[in-house]
Symmetry: C2
Subunit: 936 residues, 2 copies
């Protein structure tokens, strides 16, 4: 069994085979930008840039350079680098003169290579000007095609091609794009004119218009521009080029691009490149076409050529839906030669890039040009299929395949899914935060007790609550999914939902819930108890309907309901994660409180429990009354009596958890929540009393309520998160710690006698000073000695602490002298570092996101700058004081891929994630190890 | 006007004269302990130690060494150093052999010098064995006198002195002390025997017993020892010495010593020394005596010889109260020669130590011996009188005088006082935390409104509440004092009490308050509205009575009710603080929200406002309804309308505050509390609704309550301290920041036109990320430009931030790029660093104090290790990013002397304290500067 404390010694990991020198992907180390160089040429089989330069050239620019180098037919051009975008904004929307000069030189070189000049009246050079950031932002930024046309050059184009219709079609497209994008003329104004010309001519399709009709369109368009801008359409092609370039840079900050970056967490400061490229034309006639495709099916991963195209069209026509494109297979029939070339080129690209490619092409008079290639986006399911196939085909090695799957997307393979057609058929009623993936469909209930009652009658229910609390657990457990009106991505409903693998949509502000009245309003629709609801935990969409779902195959296999051999995806999933296990350095543990959760975590590959929350064991139906009796006791003796009743129950839980983990380490946290969480809410008791008094009731019922209120008042806290909880409970009620330690060691002794090794790790929460830990450790040590002596068994164990309070991190050196391990509680640490209550953050988080004050929810993805600094301080101070200190993380961030990357860098020993996130963590840890090694 | 931003440049401070080389007090640099040396001899005019070695020798040991060196008649002996105490405990209650050997050598030297041997049957050497820690802990640890006596040596003593009564009196004393202290025989057992012998002999006083009677006592005492210990009294003097020494070391950890250290915040690990000294005898007859005294009156500071003595007695008789001692003046009559010597020696000691001395002496057969000298404890009043007198007498320089006054004790000079005799006459009913010094006496009221009503009828009231809240301010303002059942030293009642200079006793757990029923129970007494209560904010004692008070003279002078010339103490107080101003480096500002507070702060010597809390301006009667209307508005336009009504009111406040500060900097904090603080409490509204519903009421009243509840529910927070407050309010409601900025700049413009310079410093609270500050700064800058343009006036201003959130400290470098100043909000920082809510800490703080997990309340005295680390990080990162960053502190710690010492060390520019703490801060800052310079 690998112990976290032995990371520097020989462990199971150290014996793993590792291919020598195989730590970097071929050519993956990026080339450096050349100082002062901003314009990167490509053409004639040579390119200044290459695929590694996505930071500088954007995805499109790097792809064009790479394809040019590989000898593929790419129209020549140059890329203006992303750092010019920053300069452009820094200078108030102006490109520096040095860049203007570089660009002029690039243009000259392009004219030479193309044998045509921009603005030449005989056979002019025409250009496309397109955006291209490091990360694909499809359709968000602007593009100009056919640049260089004016009243004179259009005639030159006609003369050169002998195709007047083509020339004027290109000109009217240019006028429209330039007019709307650069000159800000409403697109509508052009569309109206175009439609009126089509009407006049009785044309159905754009292609039905002849040269004369298109000439009329050009005249009308120029009129539109004059009307809206009070000036003539710019006729100077060099001025057109400068204006188009600046418009592309400006489009980086258009509202839809900003919103897109917010959603996909793309940094705002990386900027876009501008690609200036010689035009090729898919609209010269029936031997021309334009299209897009994937080398494999991005939805299923199947190895099939996938895409669509349009004959006699330009690029944007395909996506704009003006005409319905044809499936790409039909290209083979229409243009067999070009099709064969395309298959060959794209297969080459897939092998070259060692990944599925998403490409764009144009065929001009039968000649194929490649216009873009990039890694194709895919579903989680497809990602796993593709990664394993590429290994089997010998295209990539397993460690490369690991980098082809987005860790978070693995959750998709575990969640039940809606039948896609049935889902599409119903409209979205409202949206919330997609807190826990999966499809939930059931009858609405509004309390945990109702959920249990309905489910006992064999009903499928979804639990709808304003928010959930620990005493809703039993209802959450039986529900198909959880839907709440308030709370964020780490609210109780979200955390428990993910831990249980239940779909959850939380913080759906559009819900107006009357829990007492058992109704829910969404807009003007009212949903009562028993009405059907469906929601998708991956999209956050909520629908008022019963929509069919099906369980994930992988879970069916894990549950023994399906044989492993009959599930292709289970086999692939397992292989991929085994590869991941070979590469990762971080150990993976799970947060699991009960034996069934522990067993599931083990099945998912967790080799240890990083967080077993003992208080969840207190909420069982058979336990809560005893717990309440303990809390209401005024005397220690009464408390001890109640604790004595809890002891065997908790011992049984620990026994089950230990057993389920087959000898792997189990970290048990002593009691953490404030005691009032186990009692009814203060305002509820107050209202009850007010009702009794108003009804003139006196006597025993009122007396009891008043007594309860007194105790609840005593325990009431203004800020429970900062109150009497964590180690503070153990210090004021040492008998609770004592009972818990006893239950742990008695369970361990029983297992030891049964021949199973157990190493309990006892974790004291919320420590801010070493003396708190010392106090609790003394109790644990004493009980351990008593129990092991009584049983005549030696139980090795560790006592450690959570580091979750800033002061704990800041004084980690003194704490490490008492603690054998630290487990970072990054949830609480985030709350305390920011001073944000995660239950209250909903009030201002939307404004913070909208104003770009917070780019990401720090409860979902670790704040590396602030919270991460505390982690770094604690790691450094802790290891200095105790070199063999074991370090892990058990906050929600333990299952978040980008946070895992940070934990790898900072050198933790393990991460602990909720069971359903264990596969995600295994893969993310492998990627972090690979990337960190590359970055060394 | 000195600006905090210019600390490294020439400021008003830099021009102050400073005597060259005068940074250390004579001989104040401590000598170092010699490695391996543990026993320090003194005698024959020479001593191994001296006054600087209090750490090692304890106060008594250092004093004995110093007096010996000064040639005073000190019985010779040796001191076993404090580090042996640590060794003693580390070795399980054993002194290391090396120390035993050193001690034996010391004893041999002592025997030589004394010309007598321990245990010699003819004229034996007798010893005293006494404790002595660095800090005086009177009566807490153990003492043995007359050691060396046994059945044989007592006869030798008789033979040598020819005084059998004396010899047996000494022996019975030794048996009793050794028996009870070392052998743990109950003291009672000896007392009973002694009384029975006295009864038998018909003796009234101890001195009435003759030799034979005392011989009987000795026999009886030995019998008592045999009975209780099952062994004979140890007859070997060397064994007696070892046992006595170990008993003294053990007494360091007796319960009363531990409790004493807890109360007086003396560290547990410094240990005690043991002083072994040749006995001299005050009990040899009528020409012998023993006594204690002070060189000046420690209560009033008057220059008068002060003390008491007993003839024919040993030391402990004076304090034990067996006989009533005589005033020391009478010694002049009885033993004029010894008295003259004593006056001379103690005067010498006062000049030598440059401070009032508290001394012990014994006269043996007319010969004076000095047994102890140390600085005398004194009241705040006496401290000021003595310090100024010593300067006038040329004994000390002003900068030395500053070190003779405990800064916190200055508060005593400002608080109203009870008539001492009247106070003593009434029993203490209960106790609470002494939160704000002063004597409060008034009729009990249980709500702020009642307080106002009663005071309008000319009644003096004390406000009794479970706890206070911002909406109690008006009641607190009119009350004589504030008494609460819950809350700690920085609870609302405590903070406001100090700020208002109102006596406050808080967290008095013995109070059982029924606010609705307007009664208070203490034990079995019930106090109703209008009953008289008195309490003392300096001791925390509460009494059920009307007890006369009188206001402090200094406040009478400040209020213009007394002419400065007629107040001696005001003149001294002012002089002392002027000396302090010459020495301190830290600027002193005040926390003041309203013009009258600002004026008071200025009178107390604050030269700037470090924290003007704008929300306190919202709680006025004329304002709260407008504020509530703003909060209940759903639309921005309605909010703006309400804010427009608040604008002139707030502008008037700022105008008044600016004016009161005469051009000194004024730091104004934008809105900080969560908005729900301005609305009724959620549970109150819920109870109202329950009552209305139960009464069958419908209609408008219920509707309005329900609407109010909805908004209150929306604003309700689980953890308000971590919720929607501080900069978060300004970000979500930018119109509030805008109004506040407008009020500030309009007020500044008005003053500027009137010819007064104003430099507003606008402070954004609770910043955790630079982008929050940037957002609010943009609003302030825009409004500043608008207002100053409209008024045609230039207003210099600074925008800065509070550093109170850990993440703010951790990212101080990026924040400093936007902030001109940081003001440390150490209250919130303490809450967040520990994860302690100061409102909830009462639930576990007692256990933490008792278990020694926390030695001090971190809200009263800055936690240097953890919170201080955040301050250091922020100072370092902030100054690195902006070298001229101004740094201050505005948390409660700004008025705490030990915290001020830390702020001096860490290099802040200013501290800001509540007005009544400004004098304390001035003095503490001077001491910190002096001590830091010494420590350089």
């Amino acid at each position: 069994m690998a112990r976290p404390g032995t990371r520097n010694e020989g462990t199971s990991k150290a014996t793993r085979p590792r291919a020598a020198g195989a730590t970097t992907r071929r050519g993956a180390r990026p080339r450096l930008a050349k100082a002062g160089k901003h314009v990167y040429f490509f053409g004639g089989g040579k390119a200044d840039g290459d695929r590694t330069m996505r930071d500088l050239l954007g995805g499109k620019g790097a792809g064009l350079a790479e394809m040019t180098r590989a000898g593929l037919p790419v129209p020549p051009g140059f890329t203006i680098s992303t750092d010019v975008c920053a300069l452009f904004y820094a200078q108030g929307g102006r490109v520096p003169d040095a860049v203007e000069r570089e660009m002029a030189a690039g243009l000259e070189r392009l004219e030479k290579l193309a044998g045509a000049r921009l603005g030449a009246s005989d056979g002019p050079l025409l250009l496309s000007v397109r955006s291209g950031a490091k990360f694909s932002m499809p359709g968000m930024m602007d593009t100009i095609l056919n640049l260089g046309l004016n009243d004179e050059t259009v005639e030159g184009l006609k003369a050169r091609t002998g195709n007047g219709r083509f020339a004027y079609d290109s000109y009217r497209r240019f006028l429209q794009m330039f007019g709307s994008v650069v000159l800000q003329v409403p697109k509508d104004a052009f569309d109206q004119k175009f439609e009126s010309v089509k009407r006049l001519r009785g044309a159905r399709l754009d292609t039905d218009l002849d040269e004369q009709a298109l000439r009329d369109v050009v005249v009308e368009y120029q009129h539109v521009v004059r009307q809206h801008t009070d000036r003539e359409f710019p006729q100077d092609p060099r001025e057109q080029l400068r204006m188009a370039r600046d418009a592309v840079f400006s489009s980086w900050n258009n509202p839809r691009a900003i919103e897109y970056r917010r959603i996909y967490e793309i940094p705002d400061d990386i900027g876009t490149a501008v690609n200036v490229q010689t035009m090729v034309f898919g609209n010269t006639g029936e031997r021309s076409a334009t299209g897009v495709g994937f080398t494999r099916n991005p939805a299923t991963g199947a190895k099939e050529f996938y895409g669509e195209f349009l004959v006699n069209a330009q690029g944007e026509d395909v996506v704009a839906g003006i005409r319905t494109p044809q499936p790409i297979r039909e290209l083979e029939r229409l243009m067999p030669e070009a099709y064969a070339q395309l298959r060959e080129y794209t297969s080459t690209l897939e092998r070259h890039y060692q990944d599925v490619q998403d490409f764009e092409f144009t065929i001009e008079d039968g000649r194929l040009y490649m216009l873009q290639t990039r890694s194709g986006k895919r579903t989680g399911y497809a990602a796993v299929v593709i990664a394993t196939d590429l290994v089997d085909e010998g295209v990539v090695e397993p460690r490369q395949a690991l980098l082809l799957v987005e860790p978070a997307s693995l959750s998709q393979l575990l969640a039940p899914v809606f039948d896609p057609a049935a889902w599409k058929a119903v409209a979205v009623a409202t949206r919330g935060l997609p807190a826990s993936p999966g499809a939930a469909c059931g009858q609405a209930v509004f309390s945990a007790d109702e959920a249990v009652r309905w489910s006992e009658h064999g009903k499928r229910v979804v639990l709808v609550r304003k928010e959930t609390a620990p005493d809703d657990i039993h209802g959450m457990y039986v529900a198909e999914g959880i839907l709440t009106a308030t709370g964020g991505m780490t609210s109780h409903a979200a955390v428990v939902g993910r831990q249980m693998g239940k779909p959850a949509v939380v913080g759906a502000g559009g819900l107006s819930i009357d829990e007492a009245g058992r109704t829910l309003r969404i807009g003007d629709q009212t949903i009562g108890e028993g009405d059907w609801l469906s929601f998708d935990g991956l999209s956050g969409e909520v629908k008022i309907a019963r929509i069919a779902t099906r369980p994930s195959e992988i879970l069916q296999v894990l549950a023994g309901e399906m044989r492993p051999e009959s599930s292709d995806i289970h086999r692939r999933f397992t292989r991929l994660l085994e590869w991941a296990d070979r590469e990762r350095r971080l150990e993976i543990r799970a947060n699991a409180d009960l034996p069934d959760q522990a067993a599931l975590a083990y099945a998912f590959g967790a080799r240890g429990i990083g967080l077993c929350r003992t208080e969840h064991m207190f909420f069982g139906e058979d336990r809560l009354p005893i717990v309440q009796r303990m809390i209401l006791s005024q005397r220690e003796a009464d408390r001890r009596q109640a604790l004595a009743e809890l002891l065997p129950l908790q011992r049984e839980d620990f026994y089950g958890v230990f057993k389920a983990m087959h000898g792997c380490p189990v970290t048990i946290r002593t009691i953490d929540p404030p005691l009032h969480e186990f009692l009814p809410k203060r305002e509820e008791v107050m209202v009850d009393i007010a009702r009794l008094e108003a009804a003139g009731k006196t006597g025993r019922e009122l007396e009891e309520k008043l007594a309860l209120l007194r105790r609840v008042e005593q325990l009431h806290e203004f800020n429970p998160m900062l109150g009497h909880r964590g180690v503070r409970v153990g210090i004021t009620f040492p008998e609770i710690t004592e009972m818990q330690a006893r239950a742990i060691f008695e369970a361990a002794c029983r297992l030891a006698r049964e021949g199973q090794a157990v190493v309990p790790e006892i974790m004291i929460p919320l420590v801010s000073d070493v003396r708190e830990l010392r106090d609790q450790k003394a109790i644990v040590d004493r009980v351990a000695a008593e129990v092991t002596k009584a049983h005549g068994v030696e139980i090795p164990y560790l006592v450690g602490t959570m580091i979750e309070v800033p002061r704990g991190a800041l004084t980690a050196d003194s704490i490490a002298r008492e603690a054998r391990f630290f487990s970072f509680g990054t949830n609480d640490m985030t709350q305390l570092a920011f001073g944000f209550s995660r239950d209250d953050i909903g009030k201002f988080l939307p404004a913070y996101r909208q104003k770009k004050i917070l780019e990401r929810d720090p409860f979902a993805s670790l704040d590396v700058e602030g919270v991460g600094e505390l982690v770094r301080i604690a790691v450094e101070k802790g290891r200095r004081a105790r070199p063999d200190l074991a370090l892990g993380v058990c906050g929600e961030h333990g299952g978040d891929p980008s946070s895992i990357h940070f934990f790898e860098e900072v050198g933790l020993d393990y991460v602990s994630a909720s069971p359903y996130r264990v596969p995600v963590a295994r893969l993310a840890a492998a990627q972090a190890a690979l990337k960190t090694r590359v970055g060394d």
